[in-house]
Symmetry: C2
Amino acid sequence: MFEKFCSERIKKTPSSFIREILKVTQNHDIISFAGGLPNPISFPQEELKVSMNRIADTFGAKIYQYSTTEGLESLRQFIADRYKKNHNMDISIDNIIITTGSQQALDLIGKVFVNEGDKVMVENPSYLGLLQAFCVYGADFVQTKLDDDGLNIEELKKTLKEHKPKVAYLIPNFQNPTGLTYTKENRAKVFECIKDEDMILIQDDPYGELKFEDDEKLPYIGVNQSKKNIYLGSFSKIVTPGMRLGYVIADKEVIRLLETAKQAADLHSNIFGQYLIADYLLNNDLDAHIEKIKKLYKEQAAAMVSAMKEFFPPEVKFTQPKGGMFTWVTLREGMDVIKLFDKAIEKKVAFVPGHPFYVNPKNVNTLRLNYTNADSETIKEGIKRLSEAIKEI
Amino acid sequence: MFEKFCSERIKKTPSSFIREILKVTQNHDIISFAGGLPNPISFPQEELKVSMNRIADTFGAKIYQYSTTEGLESLRQFIADRYKKNHNMDISIDNIIITTGSQQALDLIGKVFVNEGDKVMVENPSYLGLLQAFCVYGADFVQTKLDDDGLNIEELKKTLKEHKPKVAYLIPNFQNPTGLTYTKENRAKVFECIKDEDMILIQDDPYGELKFEDDEKLPYIGVNQSKKNIYLGSFSKIVTPGMRLGYVIADKEVIRLLETAKQAADLHSNIFGQYLIADYLLNNDLDAHIEKIKKLYKEQAAAMVSAMKEFFPPEVKFTQPKGGMFTWVTLREGMDVIKLFDKAIEKKVAFVPGHPFYVNPKNVNTLRLNYTNADSETIKEGIKRLSEAIKEI
């Protein structure tokens, strides 16, 4: 009965595919590679318990009161210091706004910059949460292919020339859904292509800290070289997602615009959570904590890759992630991944079919696998079941 | 430099007037009636500390993990039970979604139902947070005058006939900014007028629990009689605003639409906060806690009313709130409230000029005073200063 009341924007907004799938996979004997849940080991539970008692004793009513839209100063200072140190970024707390998870950052950026019909360039495939958030504001998506070493430069040039996108959204590190990472060379080439374009570049980086090897750090695209760069970060994958705390780093003028949008969206993010995370960060060794997570995920990723090598038919391709939480599987041409999904559920294993990561899904023969929420033995068993399903359809 | 990138919607969204004012009033020797902060007494700090330790011990990683968009079941069950008991509402948890404060509820409802140019009826004056949230989605506001006993019925009829609004937004209890409450009779008349209209009715009720007298409870307009009713509630004024937890009660179909919008907006609200508030509510006597808040606010409201009676020139009118957090002052015709604001700041007292509460502010001679965040003596001194300012301009 509410159909006639609905806004045009909500009519075209897809409900999250993944959340629907997660309902199917609640069943306990299903091995699920469908979610994107961090392993609970990444939550420093004991330390957070110490911190919550400390902030309650130290700050009293402040942790429960209304607060500022831009977010807690000590938390923004920590972020500024960390990005100065790790990325040599030339920023202060005025370049930072705290958001209710990175998803809100996407929503606010869409709200501030995307008019109905504006061209937005995304990777092909791209993160479904961005597609959903910007769809609400009427974005007209154009896609550029993602190769093993990053954006396909030829296609990028063509896309820029043909479509003149107003905004580009990239995930250069351990991309969701593919697990792919742009090489240093590719980043430089991408910046060379876009530096004279009148385009805002969003670099979303929820997984950048989860880099398995300790080799060279990869720089952000055009870091310190463009005022039109917007960086997104999050505490979801390195401390806790349940607290819903992400952040945007950008030019001060952009931060002010996002602040206006955030006032209308939720006034401010949970201030208790901000005090809690800030206290945790200031009193513990975050890097040591991240090392533990990386060690675990590296093992899990290796277990999945090794099982895929052992069990998958040779025509099935998959990415070999160097960090993050996902691998991306490409079945043989013409294979229907939805059919595979049904067969896989029969075999008690679940994944996310590629559809929600494409702007125009058709003939989809790809799927996303998450490896962070199961132990190596379970991963092996799950991949074995999936291989059987692949062979049977 | 970002002007040209901005969406049309953000260009017309007002930045919060109040937050700008709050910056002026940071100065410690200013007595501020400008904010809308609950008194810290309303935060059950000791009990919340017990609860946070208990949920950490009981639920472990769950309080830090990703969670469902609709919100924690035990919290929604508590809300359903309370509204069944207090308002005889015929609802289940499927009629409830948890939001990141009531402000997010406004944003999501605007996102789901308001198309560019859609008529939205609001009280005159209305809550600035709603005006801001719906402005983003292009609402065309029409206003109906608020009298001492509720909506002006003649004007309501005229507005409905002339504009056929798609959505109406009302705050029947201790309205923000006026402090006014609709009588039982007025509520019945309002429902009589709207019951056959093809219109969604939002009743926002952050202050309903803060009713100073224990006389008859006032029913929601058309409660249990219309599927097109949407109710908003919040824990901000009775437990803690810093946790950013509000909720929407509505038809299941509306809840599903809001869920889709919320997925794109922030995935879900802080789950730690939801566990915390649920644990507090299930292990403490909320009604006894609310009694304490009411007793304090009643005293503070009485102190303000009595000081206004004592010091204000007789031509200055003000409302006498029976609950909530605000009173609304009307200066003599032609007086410029911005001039008064500057004079008041000189005298070290602050308030919110009426402007942000109107759709089309002009010749504004009204202002909002908050009484919940100062003791009776300070309130008396502040009103004395304000009276001097009024007399001097």
